[in-house]
Symmetry: C2
Subunit: 148 residues, 2 copies
DNA sequence: ATACAACATTTGTATATACAAATATAATAG
DNA sequence: CTATTATATTTGTATATACAAATGTTGTAT
């Protein structure tokens, strides 16, 4: 992915700026590819993220703020995101009996099944997108990113 | 920026997945910081990007498809983005006399002045965000990103 | 010249996101 | 026990984005 080609510029970019733009371009591309991989399942990347977090709870329900904490892209609007998943029958929401301010969200059977299918698509996408790197390079990249 | 802390997980992530998430987290952070830097000028990152592209034209007007080609995040909706900039008095739009399908967009004096002020804010943000890297590391990072 | 395809932009519409304010519940201080 | 503050979620609203269809213009083949 060449920066200058992507944004069709001829003038050279300062290194710091080029790096930021590079990160953004790569990220846009990764996002697009993953959204595409999820298209057949009619869920957004954010919705997929929530489903995966719920599975990580291993049966223990999550409340909204837990979801928000664990999401890759935090958003103010997790309520409405969960609304969508409920409408699709993938999750359930009940008010928490111990603390009626909170809410308990959990995967349905259908949610768990759908998620398994999505996993296969996403694992393939991951492999396709990151397959260009050796393990050593992945570690190197992660180390660099840790510094930000 | 530690991935596991950001998404508050204890279970270890496969390296490829971790890298993708890492890139997304870094990108979210970079975006937030740059949006913040632009807040005082009341323009979005996309709008700033268009202004900078227009300056790169060195007086030669740009049409919509040129803008779209050169934007970091391409969008279907450059028309409305330009509408906003016109409303702020930062750019002008005329239909191109040689080809009346096309449109000629150029910076106004006010646009050029505002852009200079934004530059200072954005240069500072760039330095702050990328200051954690040496030149060698920046090159290394760029080389890795080129592979995607 | 006329019809048809290609091009450049604009518009419509549905969905997504950001941010602030509102609601409901629980915890705490007096 | 009441008022106040803090917590958790929901709602309102404005703005942004994605995608498809519509509009207006130009180029081309007959």
């Amino acid at each position: 992915m060449n920066v200058e080609d992507c944004i069709m510029t001829d003038q050279p970019l300062p290194l710091q700026r080029r790096t930021i733009i590079h990160l953004m371009l790569v990220n846009n591309y990764l996002g697009e590819q993953m959204v595409q991989a999820l298209k057949p399942f009619e869920v957004s990347l954010q919705q997929f993220n929530v489903l995966r977090i719920l599975r990580g709870q291993k049966g223990k329900p999550a409340n909204l703020s837990t979801l928000n904490d664990r999401m890759v892209s935090k958003m103010s609007n997790t309520t409405r995101l969960v609304d969508k998943l409920i409408a699709k029958g993938l999750v359930l929401r009940n008010t928490c009996p111990e603390n009626r301010r909170k809410v308990e969200i959990r995967l349905t059977g259908k949610g768990m099944e759908s998620l398994k299918a999505m996993d296969r698509a996403m694992d393939a996408a991951e492999k396709k997108l990151m397959g260009c790197f050796t393990d050593h390079e992945l570690k190197q990249l992660n180390n660099l990113l840790d510094r930000v």
